[in-house]
Symmetry: D2
C-alpha cells in the first residue's frame, strides 16, 4: 500500500519515512514539499542516500489520490485544514499529524492556534487517533486527527484515574519536558545549538496550544470539565518527552493500589508499559520506539500521586502513532511495523 507524505522536509515526515520503510504492508509513495519540489529527498536528508532517492513533488490532490492509498499530512498548523478536504473529496483517507483537526471547537482552535479553523463538516468527520481509547472509531474513520506529542504523554498518564472517584481533578499539574526536535526543523534562536545546548528553558507558559487538546479528551472521558495547569520546557536533547504529572488523591491510596488500577487499564494496550513499583522510566528507554512508559509514586506525606510518562515525541508522539492508526484503519495488528526495541544507549 503506497503512502503519500505531505510536508516532506520536516522531522515528522522523515520519521514517517523511516517507519514506512520497515513496515511490511506500506511503501513510501509521493512525497510533497512545495518549497523544495524538484529536489531529490536525499539532498535534504543525506542519511537517506541510496535508500529513498525520489524527487520531492508539488501538492496535487489528483496525482496523490491516483498513486497512493493513504495520505499522511505532517504540515505546520493552518495548512492541512485546506488540503485535507481536497484529498477526502478524491476518496483517499487522511492521517493529519498537525493540530488542525484535533479540537472539535473551531473557536477554540482559532483562539489557541491563531489560524483560521477547518470547516465544521470536516472537523466533525475527524476521529482523534488515540488508539488506547478510540480504537473502534479509528477503525472506521476516513480522517484521523493524530494526537499531539505532549497530549499523548499527558493523557496516557492520566486516563486510568479519570472518571474514578480517587483523584481531585482540580489539582492536576502537568510539568512537561521535551527534546528540541519537537520544535521542528524551522530555524529559530530557540533551536540554535549554542543557545539551547547546556540550557533548560521553560516556554509558552499558560499559552501552549496543546492545553485545550488535553482538556478536551480528559473532559470527554471524565464526563465533566477538567482544567489543567500545563507548563512546557525544552531539554538539551534531540528526542523524548517526559510529563511529570501531579494530582491529589481523594483518599489514602497506596502506590500498590494505584499500580493495580494502571495495570488493569492498560493490560491489553501493547504500547503502554506500566513499570513495576520503584521503577521510573527515563526518556531514552523508549527512544526510537512507539512505547509510552509510565512510572507511579504515591507520596503519603502530601497524599499526592506523581505520574511520570515518557514517549519518543517523533514516534508515539507523531509518526509511530500515525502508523499505529493506519494499522487499525486497515484491520492489521496495531503493532505491525512498530515492534522494534528502543535504541539504547
Amino acid at each position: 500500500m503506497k503512502a503519500a507524505i505531505i510536508g516532506g522536509t520536516g522531522y515528522g515526515s522523515v520519521e514517517l519515512i523511516r517507519l514506512i520503510h520497515k513496515h511490511p504492508h506500506l511503501e513510501v509513495g509521493t512525497v510533497v514539499s512545495n518549497s523544495q519540489a524538484g529536489k531529490n529527498f536525499s539532498e535534504t536528508y543525506p542519511h537517506l542516500s541510496g535508500i529513498i532517492d525520489q524527487p520531492l513533488e508539488k501538492f496535487d490532490a489528483d496525482s496523490i489520490s491516483n498513486k497512493n492509498e493513504i495520505v499522511f499530512l505532517a504540515t505546520p498548523s493552518g495548512v492541512s485544514s485546506n488540503l485535507v478536504p481536497q484529498l477526502l473529496d478524491k476518496g483517499i483517507k487522511c492521517v493529519d499529524l498537525s493540530g488542525d483537526f484535533r479540537l472539535r471547537s473551531a473557536d477554540e482552535y482559532e483562539k489557541w492556534y491563531k489560524h483560521s479553523p477547518a470547516s465544521e463538516t470536516y472537523l466533525n468527520q475527524a476521529i482523534y487517533g488515540l488508539s488506547e481509547i478510540y480504537k473502534e472509531k479509528i477503525s472506521n474513520s476516513t480522517l484521523i486527527a493524530n494526537p499531539g506529542c505532549y497530549p499523548t504523554a499527558s493523557i496516557l498518564a492520566l486516563l486510568p484515574i479519570i472518571n474514578t472517584k480517587i483523584a481531585d481533578y482540580e489539582s492536576i499539574v502537568i510539568d512537561a519536558k521535551s527534546g528540541v526536535s519537537g520544535a521542528g526543523r524551522g530555524l529559530s534562536l530557540t533551536s540554535h545549538f549554542a543557545e539551547i545546548n547546556e540550557n533548560l528553558k521553560a516556554y509558552k507558559l499558560g499559552e501552549h496550544q496543546h492545553i485545550p487538546e488535553i482538556e478536551q479528551i480528559l473532559s470527554d472521558e471524565n464526563g465533566s470539565p477538567i482544567n489543567i495547569s500545563f507548563t512546557t520546557h525544552l531539554v538539551p536533547m534531540n528526542r523524548g518527552i517526559m510529563c511529570s504529572v501531579y494530582v491529589k488523591l481523594n483518599d489514602s491510596f497506596s502506590t500498590e493500589e494505584v499500580h493495580q488500577i494502571y495495570n488493569e487499564f492498560y493490560k491489553n494496550k501493547p504500547f503502554v508499559r506500566v513499570r513495576p513499583q520503584g521503577n521510573i522510566p527515563s526518556t531514552k528507554e523508549v527512544q526510537g520506539s512507539n512505547y509510552c512508559d509510565i512510572g507511579l509514586h504515591v507520596d503519603k506525606r502530601t497524599n499526592r500521586l506523581t505520574i511520570i510518562s515518557v514517549i519518543d515525541n517523533l514516534v508515539k508522539g507523531a509518526a509511530g502513532q500515525a502508523i499505529q492508526n493506519v494499522n487499525i484503519m486497515n484491520g492489521w495488528d496495531e503493532r505491525t511495523g512498530l515492534t522494534d526495541i528502543p535504541l539504547y544507549p
Copy 2:
C-alpha cells in the same frame, strides 16, 4: 585571608577554588583530601595547571586552624558532623556545604540522610546560610550550614508569597531539574555519559533529602507548617538547576500584582533578579554566576501561579553562596568576588 577546603576533589571544592582565586580578600590555603593526600591538586584537575599546584593534604585540625582563617567543608553527608566540632574547638569558623547541619532536628536528619546526625550542641550553633533572609544571623555566626542547591532555588522562588494571605500552601508542587554535576564526581551508572546523555530521568521520588530542608525554612518563615510535593529530575547538561513551582492563589491576582510583590521583596537582594513580565529565565543565563533569576506567570484559567527559578547549582547552589556567607561574616560587601557576568553561551 587563607581559606582551607576539605573534600578537595569534588566539584564543590574545585568551584570554591575558582571563586576564592578571584576574590580580592581570600586566598586558597590548605586543601584536604584524605583519599588523594600527597598528590598535587592539578594532577586531579589539570585545568588548574600552573595556577594551583599545591599538594593535597590529610585532615589535621591543628594544622588547618594554624594556617587558615576560615574552613569550607565540601564533604559527603555524614563527614562534616565529625570534623566541624574539632575545627570549631580550635577556634576557626566553618562553612559546611554538606547537609549535616541544615536540619535542626537530629531525628529528621537520620530519617532522610540515613547517617548519624551531628550532636545537638553543634546543630544549635549552626546558622542556615540563606543570606536573603538570615543576613544578620550569618554576620554573627561561627558555623554556617550552607543551603542545598535545590532548597536555594525552591525557597527563593516561594519566599515572597510565604506568610501572606495570597496562596494556598497545601497546593505547592515543586518540579525540580538539575544538571548532572549536582550528582558529584563519584562514579555511578546514573552519571555515566552514555546513560544520561540524550536522556531525562526522574529520581528519588518523594525521598529526596532536600525535602525536609525546604519545608523547615518555609515553615519557619510562614509561622506554621508547610508540606510540599517535590520531585527531582536529571537533565543532560553539566550545570544549572531550574525549579518550576506551582501554587494556587487564594484570590484572583494578576501577573502584574505578583510581580510587584516579588520586586518589593527582593529589591535590595543583589543576587536575585526578578525578571519583567513575559520574561522567563533559562538556566544558562546564570551559568557560572551567583544569581538566582526568577520568572512569574499567573494562569487565570486555573488561578495557579507558576514560578520559574534558576541557579547555577555549583555557585548560588553551593560555592558561590558559601563565599557570599563568608563576605557577610567578615563585614565585606556580600557581592565581593561574585560580580562576574554569567558565562554565555
Copy 3:
C-alpha cells in the same frame, strides 16, 4: 536460529539484542553474564521491559551449545580467548566481538593488549570478519574475529587506494573520533558525564590497540607493510565514529578520479555508501544503521587526499557487522535484518 550472547550487560550485547530481535531468522537465546547471573535482563536494561524479560545466566559451554546455534561474544579483552575454544569444541560457531582473535601474531596481541593471547591453533582458525573483502572466507568459517570499531572505519576509508600506485603509504594519518558509548558501560572518570560532556579529549596517543589491527589488514591487502599514524578522540555524543584520513597522492589526481576509484571498488557492497562530490557525511547520518558512509576531497594545494568515513560504532563497528557476518555464514543475503533507515535526527 537461536543466538547466544556472552557478556550480556555491555553495550555491544544490548545492541546485538536489538538487531537480533528484528532479524527474520534469528532469535535471542541464552544471555550470559557471570556478574549479573540470576537477574532479569530488563532489570539491567529497563528499555527491554516486556520485550526481553529472560534471566541472565552463568557461562556453561554445554548448555549454550545445546540450546543455541550460534554464539556472539561481546566480552572485554582477554576473556573470549578462553571461552571460544570451549565453545568451538562443542561444535558451535562463534563470532567474537572482542580483539582476542583479530591479530594473527600472539606477540603483537600481548604487546598491545597486555593480556595473554589466544592459542595459535585458534588464532589460525579465526577469519577477520570484514565482509567487504573477506566474504568468501567468512562464508566457510567457524570462528569470526569481528573487526574493531575504529579499524572498520579506517580500513574501509583506505582500501580502494591500497595496492595501487596512486598514494604514498608512508604519509597516512588517521585522526579518529568516537562517541562515548565506545568506552563501554564500565564506570570510569573518562566516561563520567560532567567530565566528558562539553569536552573533547584525545586519548591513548600512539598506544591504541587498534593500530596493529589496521596495519595488519592494510599490509595484507597491500602486499607490503604499511605503518600509520593513528590518534583517537572522545566526542561528547553517544554513538558514532568518524575517521578523517589524510594521505599524499603520488600524482595529481582530481577529486573526480578518486571518486571513480571508490565507486568502482564499492559498487556491490551494500553497506558502503560513497557520497557524491562535495557531499561529506556526518556521523548522525548513519546512526543506528550498518552503513559506512565515505566522503572524499582532493586538496590540490597540497596534493593530499582527505577521506571522511563514518559509522555507528555499535552497529557497523560491532553488533551490525557481527549480524552481517552471521548472514554470510548462513548463506543469507548479507543485508538480512539490517536494512533499516538510520535514526535521524
Copy 4:
C-alpha cells in the same frame, strides 16, 4: 578607559562584555548594532539583566571616538574593512576580531573570503595580534588584526618547531575541531540543535578561510613558504577548539626532547601551558579562560610528532586575545583581567 564594541549582538561581542566587565581598567562604552539599534542589550541577552542594561546604538564614528578610547570590532567579514578607516581617521585605536585585516595580500583575501578587501594603506598598518610572537609590534600599534580562532590554536601548536631543522614542513596535517559557538549566532541548519547535537561533521574541506592566515604566519616565521593540510570539524559542544597537528620529524627525537623545545619557547608566555609528558589537554580544561594548553607525543613507530592544542574559541580565540592585545597596547601587564581559573566542569 571606555571601550566601544561594534557588532553588538554576536557571541564575540557578548564575550568581550563579560571580559571588559571584570577588567580593572576597562569599562563597557558604546555598543553598536545597526540591526538592533534602540533595543536594550539585555533584551537580546537576558543573562546581562541588571548588569549591562544600556541601549544598542547605530554606528557613528564621531560619537564612538568622542565617548570611547578603544574600539573592538566583532563584525562579520567584509564589514570592518569599511568601518576601521573611519575610526582610525578620528584617532581612535581599533582591535578587529574579524578576518578583514589579517591577510597582507588583498588578492588572497578576496580569493578566500569572497568579499572586497580592505585598502592597502590600512592593511599595511595592521599588526597581527598574536602576542606570543609580536608583542613589541602590538605595543606600538593603532590597528590590531586579532587572530582567528583556528589560527591561534594551530600556530601556537607549531611555532616552537618552525624554522628549526627538526621537522618536515611539507608533512603538516592539522585536524581541527570546534564547538558550535564558533559558527556564530546567525541562524543556519548547520547550527540547528537537532542537526548538530549527537553529530560530528567535517565542513569546508580545503576551503576554510583560515588556511591562508595560518600559512602566512608560519611562512613568515619560517622564512620560507609552508603549506598545510587543514580540515575543520564541528563538535556538539558550545565552546572549545582542539587542533590535532601531525608533523614528521627529520631525525629521531624523543618526546622528552620535544618537550624541552616547547618549554623553552613558551617559558615566559603566561597563557601557553605546555603540559608535562603523558598529559594531554582537553578543551574543557581551558573553558572560559585565555589559556592555550599544549600536549605532545612522539610516535617512534612513524617518527611523527602529534601536537594537541586546545583553546576556548571565544576567549583566546577571540575576545580574550583581544583584551590581551589591549593590555599590551596600553603598557599594562598582559594578564590584566585575564587570570580567572577555567570554568570546570
